[in-house]
Amino acid sequence: MLSAVPGKPFFFRAPTGDIITVVSLSHKAGPNVPAFRYAGEALDLADVNVGQGETQPGVTFTVLAGRKRLSALAPFATRPPKGEFFFQEVVVNGQNISLALMGSVIPNDPTIAWTVEGV
């Protein structure tokens, strides 16, 4: 699981080798088809179980050692672009699935990036 580092915006730490899942949610912003990259590689989009019988598009990656960049782009494929996309980490604890908000983007600024430090 990602842990936010106080005083460092959009900066997370996680044990190296942990598997992290991030999903996106379109709030009145058009089709939910985001693009993700981690550590210089494109990540494949898949439907992720977010609990309560719901799925959201997201990606899964294994945390590498050191500081790596995780980035995302929201499509805002409506005319005019509108709404907001939210990015959340899917946290699975036994049978429980919860979502932790990582950030959001709006039409004027559809890209977002985080630093994930593998420790």
């Binding site: 106080p6 005083g7 460092k8 915006p9 959009f10 900066f11 949610l25 379109s26 709030h27 009145k28 912003a29 058009g30 089709p31 939910n32 088809v33 985001p34 693009a35 993700f36 990259r37 210089g40 494109a42 989009l45 959201q56 500081r67 960049r69 980035s71 995302a72 782009l73 499509p75 805002f76 494929a77 409506t78 005319r79 005019p80 509108k82 709404g83 907001e84 939210f86 950030g103 959001s104 983007v105 600024d109 890209t111 977002i112 990036a113 985080w114 630093t115």
Partner: protein, 514 residues
């Protein structure tokens, strides 16, 4: 000095947006506007002290993560062309007009149908407003007697959307029922003058709340000229969630989208470092304590230091910054192409119109609407059948008329300027339409307070219309001239002028959601 600066900005714009520079904004103005937005956000954070104030301030200036495009343009302007935004330019920056794109649409009809006593649309369009729209129109097209009418049109689910304030948990994927209901739009048209004014005057002698409500309902009933329901039928090919459209968007994200992320990685990944963390910490400390009149200047100073850091940490930072910005422009352009393709897909709709006239049986019109785009022309075909709801006195036929028509709408001006507020002519729309009506022997019309038999036969109508946007608030003014061989009542050639004002809430909704 000023001309050199203007030249530099023009050269930057041409370099950053090869082939589409005329459609892009002024990069220095965009940067000034964003500095102003960030400074305003910082002022608001400082005005409301909280335990997480430092984190909130840090998130506003974390340009490795957010505002990446803004920072890259700032760095290119400063380091490559020596253009630095001044606090005075920041103070003068004003936001773009978000309504311009909606203003440029050609596929939405906000007014009444051609059968109303006040209308400016000979042909019914397939799409209704996403939220709601209103129109005041003067002059009949098919009828002999003209009047002024007010039409309200809307989408029930869209109105609930506009009124709701759901949290971010509500996502875009509608329930099946909601998605189905989005296909439906409704309208009702009221006469601006009450045809039964004498009854209205007599009724004003009543008193009390119940009487007042009853009187208002009665007045509404007397003024209601027509109401309609329209539904998109078959596969809704213009819905971005249609399988074909989703596939196109997925392809866009996998190609241009990934290319953009890759270029941003190249330009900014190496910036994430201990020095960057220290820059954020120092910037938060300064922005938190600087006297507010000097906030913009301090922010610009911190941005300059970050540019220096990026040049130091990222090999060939300037080249990567330009590549990333060009990738952003390429993504925006590719997305625009996908959305153009979606708007061009054919659309089919059916419409039911109930026309009410005093002294006569109500009439029902069943209309089929087909719509598509060819080049810059939005093409619409209508076929309609009208019958009386009750058999006319004397036992005539229920059938009243049959109509078939076609129309074409085209935005004027340069296509690359469409949807831009600086180009009002590009948002004006030229329309031509033709309507044929076959009136049955049993057709009657109301003229004054008398019901008259309409001469059976053929009606041919042509219309030339220009719809002008009035400012940026979603108001448009349709001006039209129509030509016909006769009206329903009078067998003489007619030339008529029609004018209206329409308001579409879709145009201002994005601004209200900011």
């Amino acid at each position: 000095m000023t001309s050199l600066r203007t030249l530099a900005i023009g050269f930057v714009a041409a370099s950053l947006w090869p082939g589409i520079s005329h459609a892009a904004g002024d990069p220095a103005a965009e940067v000034a506007l964003e500095v102003k937005r960030i400074a305003t956000a910082i002022r608001n954070i400082r005005a409301n002290p909280s335990l997480d104030q430092d984190d909130l301030l840090a998130s506003q200036i974390a340009f490795h993560s957010r505002g990446q495009r803004f920072f890259l343009v700032y760095a290119i302007l400063r380091d490559r062309w020596g253009v630095v935004v001044t606090p005075a330019e920041v103070a003068a920056a004003s936001p773009p007009d978000l309504s311009a794109v909606e203003q440029a649409r050609t596929d939405v009809q906000a007014g009444a149908s051609a059968s109303a006593s006040g209308s400016s649309s000979l042909i019914s369009k397939g799409s209704g407003p996403s939220y709601f729209a209103a129109a005041v129109e003067n002059g009949a097209l098919v009828k002999s007697a003209s009047a002024t009418t007010t039409t309200f049109q809307g989408n029930l689910i869209g109105i609930f959307d506009a009124l709701s304030s759901q949290g971010y948990a509500a996502d875009y994927e509608d329930a099946t029922v909601t998605r189905f209901l989005r296909r439906f739009s409704f309208s009702f048209t009221l006469r601006n003058t009450n045809p039964d004014a004498s009854a209205e005057e007599a009724a004003t002698e009543d008193s009390g709340l119940t009487d007042t409500i009853r009187r208002q309902v009665q007045q509404f009933d007397q003024r209601l000229e027509e109401y309609s329901v329209r539904a998109v039928v078959g596969r809704h090919r213009r819905d971005p969630r249609d399988v074909q459209n989703l596939t196109a968007i997925q392809k866009l994200m996998a190609t241009s989208g990934q290319q953009l992320l890759e270029e941003l990685d190249e330009a900014l990944a190496d910036l994430a470092s201990e020095e960057y963390d220290q820059w954020v910490t120092d910037s938060v400390r300064e922005l938190k304590s600087v006297p507010l009149p000097f906030l913009e200047g301090t922010l610009i100073q911190r941005l300059n230091l970050l540019c220096d850091l990026a040049n130091q940490k990222v090999p060939n930072f300037q080249d990567h910054a330009v590549s990333a910005y060009q990738a952003y422009a390429a993504f925006s352009s590719a997305r625009s192409t996908v959305l153009d393709e979606i708007e061009r897909r054919p659309l089919f709709a059916v419409e039911y119109v109930n026309l009410r006239e005093p002294l006569q049986s109500d009439r029902s019109t069943y209309r089929f609407i087909a719509e598509g785009q060819r080049g810059r022309w939005d093409l619409t075909v209508n076929a309609a059948y009208t019958r009386y709801n009750n058999r006319p006195e004397g036992g005539g036929s229920m059938f009243r008329d049959f109509q078939i028509g076609a129309g074409a709408d085209r935005p004027l001006g340069n296509p690359d300027l469409r949807g831009q507020s600086k180009s009002p002519l590009a948002n004006a729309v030229l329309s031509v339409a033709f309507l044929y009506e076959r009136l049955a022997e049993s057709a009657t019309v109301v003229f004054g307070d008398r019901t008259l038999s309409a001469p059976p036969g053929h009606l041919y109508l042509g219309q030339l219309r220009v719809t002008l946007p009035m400012g940026t608030g979603g108001v448009k003014m349709p001006l039209s001239v129509s030509f016909s061989n006769r009206t329903e009542l009078i067998e003489e050639k007619q030339v008529r002028a029609n004018i209206g004002f329409t308001f579409n809430f879709d145009a201002v909704a994005p601004a209200l959601r900011q």
